[in-house]
Symmetry: C3
Subunit: 379 residues, 3 copies
């Protein structure tokens, strides 16, 4: 649905998903299997892996994935499971290895491409194929400076899924190109541990009917949000800064220089994109806010949020607090609302779900998408 | 069974419920559905709601219930779930709202009768019925100064259930009337979080075979309890204070004045009533001890206990410690015993349950009642 | 398999159990029923029960077992469940009773043979058989100074199970007799709470392929372990101390005097025995290290480890730190490896399990044994 104005006919209220979709561990397992472990999943920032042997470990669906960089600088991702007896190769969230990944249990040793290169008595076991018993690789793509992985044997088209979500929102990929997201630097990263189902967080991000109630700072900067229509209700709609607002900051004070190459008509606008299943992007003239969700359980989601700036802003050590603080408060306000909503998902009063008002009707597409993904023949 | 003397024939031992009844989450779910969410459930003291907009939130079965008072002073109870997207309306245990209940997520606003009175853009959604989309009410009765709720569509008769329990124990309702429980004041409230199934707590309250072992202070005050027969083993039996005992206090010292209007023969007696499924009442000449259980899980029960005194005792700030301390110790002793019993409920040695001795035989009626409630055709 | 040299034909790699065997609560329940609650389970050191009324409570499978000593000094073991209403008789891990076991709830009182000897009003209940309603006893054997219990109605042969495991490893029971394990004294006891399945701990103990990687101190003392073959890979093989090593201590310094009666060729050797399902024994010239596992859940195992010395070593207060520290570090290193392995057991990459290299092939026998025990007709 690419609505450009409010629906005027039909019922104001349409139903949400049933409450069980947000609490049932079996639903969460199915979502892991058919969504997070099957689609492209945005797992890490490329700059988290500055050189060969740098690594991050992240939770993708129910799996621990080890992301690193090969000797030739290519990003690689592996199941974080030793092929011998299953020990975790790396238990830290992030780190660096000098030469190889060595399992700390029996010293099975893998190069940065995952190949098994050494193990005690390995030479006496000539029938062990060093690629077959190498770390099991998963598919990797990089885009916008992020590493996206897919645990599927045959991943879906990156273009038809991840990139199409941006096209659906902004009209064309060109409309994000000007932000040069891949070359921005991480000025701040905040990790939130949210006691709520990931779908509540997606739904929250998709609508602005709550903005007037819980986001006083945001609606100050973006006055049209007080009316309740999210930027992403429309195609390629940028919410305009308020008249007295100089920048996308907690107090409306000036930000940093506009990202070079950005079309002029974007220099006072805010855009928001949901890239299903677990990424939210906010574009403003001088920075980009990039959220990745890591769903951990039916009632728990970790959200890692990066504030990305022009490299010279970060390198020069300029104070990014005024802009970080704005969306950090928005995040806190949103996640508190989601945590307040989670407990009622198991109420019998919510067994058939709640309702969406017109400015939320587009969330219904998300619900249909989830339902379709979980339908055995739906894929 | 309204026994007035010990059975002298038949077996001394009759079986309890099987151990699984105390640990199986499926049994607990069934109890929530067919007992706590279906019967009358004593949820709050009326005086917890001093004026319109005062509220308490409590757990009734698996549901959070919001109890409040309307503009006209009537007690109302609602599912604590916003009709829009399910957020909890109130998250505090108790509090006060000046004008309405407003959901903090999207500002759907309900009056104290539950009617939807405002929401962003509500006027543009004329098809929303403000009563249908009001807070969902549950049935309310007040008696003895307490608010009793029923989540059933068609609640059982209050008279034939709650009040009949009192009749079964005391003979007539008149026999509780003299205590004027509704007009007493809360002198002390203590909340206990007990790691035991609610039925263990009921069984404990029903029998006094344990009194000599674990309640030295209580048997000092009520010597006949040392023989093991609970007051509620009989109809309208009051346990007599010991000769040297002046009042129902930790040291037998004098209490406060006898509640006016009480029959004279009750001025040195203790009565106990179990109002299934979750209320215990103790009546003594100068105060009333009123327990409400909130079953939280198969192995966890919150007990809220009020010590009620004549209003002038509380208003004048007289020290109620000596009387509170007596039953507070009894509670601690009892709940420790229940917590010690809970772990063995899953032993294979307890698969078929334990045994009831003659002075506990009346607990069997409780077991039959529970079993009957959980039998699909039992109602 | 009683291999004396490495296999030279066939595949180097054979599969382990599937990952689900280490995480599925239903598998753990089946293991409790068919292994821990059915076989002989090593529960306590006899010296933990110095006199009549001394007791220990331990977890055997899913049951709490109370182990004590009768008036005549015989070891007795009971379900730790009162026959009346199921309260735990003793809640402490260890203690002492002067005259009887009295349930603290209703004072049902049992003698140290478990017979019901007193209860309130017991004389008025003549139909209660005091043996039938005594504490339910479980089978007991003592060997090597330890109390072994079986919860089975008809326990397996102690000789054909527990003792045969020692024969399988050492060739004959005579080969353990010289250590006089029953008469050694506990010099140190350390309890470990390990977040791993019990089978990972057994597998770890059975192989030494990991020794070079994680046990630097151990391989310093026993240089052949650096090659990866565990002592228990062979029958009656003792790993020889290194040339510069004087004793089985953290720094190779001298230990205490050799246990009298030990064959001379054992005075610089280390032996290791796995007694399925939950005991590990290490024999060195001057002490014995005895591990008992208490499996608590699919992902949690408590390990109690005793360092046993000649009585005069302990009585004289000699410092046992140098020898305790060596295997304590080994334990810490091993349990950390097991905890690192547990999380991947639920990975889809480990659904079919991992692989065993030749020096681990004998673990496959353990896997076959477990599988056989859990096969309904397997017994």
């Amino acid at each position: 649905m690419t609505t450009t104005e409010e629906p005027v006919t039909g019922s104001s209220l349409i139903p949400t998903l049933p409450g069980s979709a947000y609490v049932d561990p079996a639903v969460f397992d199915a979502e892991c299997e058919r969504i997070f472990e099957d689609m492209w999943f945005c797992a890490a920032r490329e700059s988290d892996l500055p050189k060969p042997g740098s690594f991050r470990t992240v939770q993708v669906g129910r799996e621990s994935i080890l992301i690193s960089r090969s000797r030739r600088g290519e990003v690689r991702a592996f199941y974080n499971v030793c092929r011998h007896r299953g020990a975790r190769i790396c238990t830290e969230d992030a780190g660096e290895r000098a030469r190889s990944f060595q399992c700390p249990y029996h010293a099975w040793t893998y190069d940065f491409d995952g190949k098994l290169i050494a193990a005690p008595n390995l030479t006496k076991m000539p029938d062990i194929d060093r690629v077959e018993y190498g770390l099991r690789r998963v598919h990797v793509r990089t885009w916008l400076g992020y590493v996206w992985v897919s645990l599927a044997d045959a991943p879906p088209s990156f273009e038809a899924t991840v990139q199409q979500e941006v096209v659906d929102r902004l009209g064309t990929l060109d409309n994000i190109a000007g932000y040069d997201v891949a070359n921005l630097s991480v000025g701040r990263r905040i990790v939130y541990d949210v006691a709520a189902n990931w779908k509540l967080i997606v739904e929250n991000f998709m609508e602005c009917y709550h903005c007037a109630t819980i986001h006083p700072e945001l609606t100050e900067v973006l006055p049209e949000f007080a009316d309740g229509l999210a930027a992403q209700y429309f195609v390629n709609h940028g919410a305009e800064f308020g008249e007295d607002v100089s920048g996308f900051t907690i107090d409306g004070s000036e930000g940093f220089g506009v990202i070079p190459g950005l079309e002029e008509d974007r220099d006072r606008k805010y855009y928001a994109i949901t890239v299903k299943p677990q990424v939210f992007v906010n574009l403003v003239p001088d920075h980009v806010i990039f959220h990745r969700m890591y769903p951990m359980a039916a009632d728990r989601t970790v959200v890692e949020c990066d504030w990305l700036y022009l490299p010279d802003v970060v390198e020069s050590g300029r104070d990014v607090t005024a802009s970080v603080e704005l969306f950090h408060r928005v995040n806190q306000q949103d996640f508190e609302a989601c945590e307040r909503t989670q407990p009622a998902m198991s109420s019998k009063l919510y067994a058939a779900g709640g309702v969406l008002v017109p400015s939320e009707h587009h969330i219904s597409e998300f619900h249909e998408w989830v339902t379709h993904k979980l339908t055995p023949t739906g894929g």
